[in-house]
């Protein structure tokens, strides 16, 4: 397998960490850039463990200038960028009737506009290469639109639509764009109380939460050479919900 240069946003979180580890396992030649902002501790540990293969880059995904600087740093060092995983995300739940406008705007800026800026930042390089993989981490909420998540569900549904639209635009240039929709993952457990956890569990046919590594494996697959004919797809990874 050829060495590849991979940028993962939100790399300090549980899923970002799992995705980074999955790419590290996949090939000794992979070079992983961990996009982080403010919270950097876990990403820093990954770099300490893999100093030759991992680096952090400061990346506030809401800011196009931050994207420009991060991508320039990566391309200056490697002369290429093969894979972008738009993983940074956050939710801030409340009923729409009482949702603060700021909450709506923040969640759209982070979850949807961040993906827009990221795609715009990497496309010139990927177009020049006539090759690239973009994997956008959406959410089951994009498809199920649960109550209390109007902002997050709208943002993630936007990510799915953006993915499909961009996939059509760049398909013949050798760039694939896919979305992954994780369901309940173990990374969310600390934020849920026991009642919420039980209620969630009852919705999952497999009767368990997913492991971040199970989503990471799918991301790695979508980024690999053998997945070259998959584009515009939305892969849900949710233990069978729906």
């Amino acid at each position: 397998m050829n060495p590849r240069v991979i940028l993962i946003t939100g790399a300090n979180g549980g899923l970002g960490q799992a995705i980074a580890r999955s790419f590290l396992r996949e090939s000794l030649d992979n070079r992983i850039w961990l996009g982080v902002h403010e919270n950097v501790e876990k990403a820093g540990m990954l770099v300490t463990e893999n100093p030759e293969r991992c680096r952090t880059v400061d990346l506030d995904v809401r800011k196009p200038e931050a994207w420009g600087a991060a991508v320039a740093e990566i391309v200056t060092r490697h002369q290429r960028l093969d894979v972008l995983v738009n993983n940074a995300g956050h939710h801030q739940d409340s009923l729409l009737a009482t949702m603060a406008l700021k909450s709506w705007q923040n969640i759209l800026a982070l979850n949807l506009e961040g993906v827009f800026h990221g795609c715009q930042a990497v496309l010139p390089t990927m177009i020049s290469q006539r090759n690239g993989r973009i994997i956008n981490i959406a959410s089951l909420s994009a498809l199920s639109a649960p109550a209390g998540q109007a902002n997050y569900a709208a943002a993630k549904a936007g990510v799915v639509a953006l993915t499909q639209s961009l996939a059509k635009e760049v398909a013949r240039i050798g760039i694939t764009v896919n979305a992954v929709c994780p369901g309940y993952l173990d990374t969310e457990s600390p934020a849920m109380d026991e009642t919420q956890r039980q209620r969630a569990m009852e919705r999952i046919p497999m009767r368990r939460f997913g492991q971040p590594s199970e989503v990471a494996a799918a991301v790695c697959f979508l980024a690999c050479a053998e997945a070259s004919y998959i584009t515009g797809s939305t892969l849900k990874i949710d233990g069978g919900i729906f």
């Binding site: 496309l123 010139p124 177009i127 020049s128 635009e169 013949r172």
Partner: protein, 89 residues
């Protein structure tokens, strides 16, 4: 503005980047790149062309109106490169 060498470079860039089934020297300087009766490029070709012109000549095409003017034909691209770009990289 006449620069046959630059125009030939641009024609080669078109053929190589857009994988055209036409020889570079068969593209006339004033052949429309888009639309009927021309080279038949589309918006995805335009996207690739914008990236290639930036990479090769440092020519920044920042909006759709500028792209419409600059990407009319080889003559208009050559003029823009001479005016705003830098030597081939």
């Amino acid at each position: 503005m006449n620069n046959p060498e630059l125009k030939l470079q641009i024609k080669r860039l078109l053929v190589e980047n857009l994988m055209l089934q036409t020889a570079a020297n068969e593209i006339a300087d004033d052949l429309p790149l888009f639309g009927p009766g021309g080279l038949g490029l589309d918006s995805v070709d335009a996207l690739q062309l914008v990236v290639a012109l930036d990479k090769n000549y440092g020519l920044k095409i920042s909006d759709a109106e500028a792209a419409k003017q600059i990407l009319r034909n080889v003559n208009s691209i050559a003029a823009a490169v001479q005016q705003h770009g830098s030597p081939a990289r």
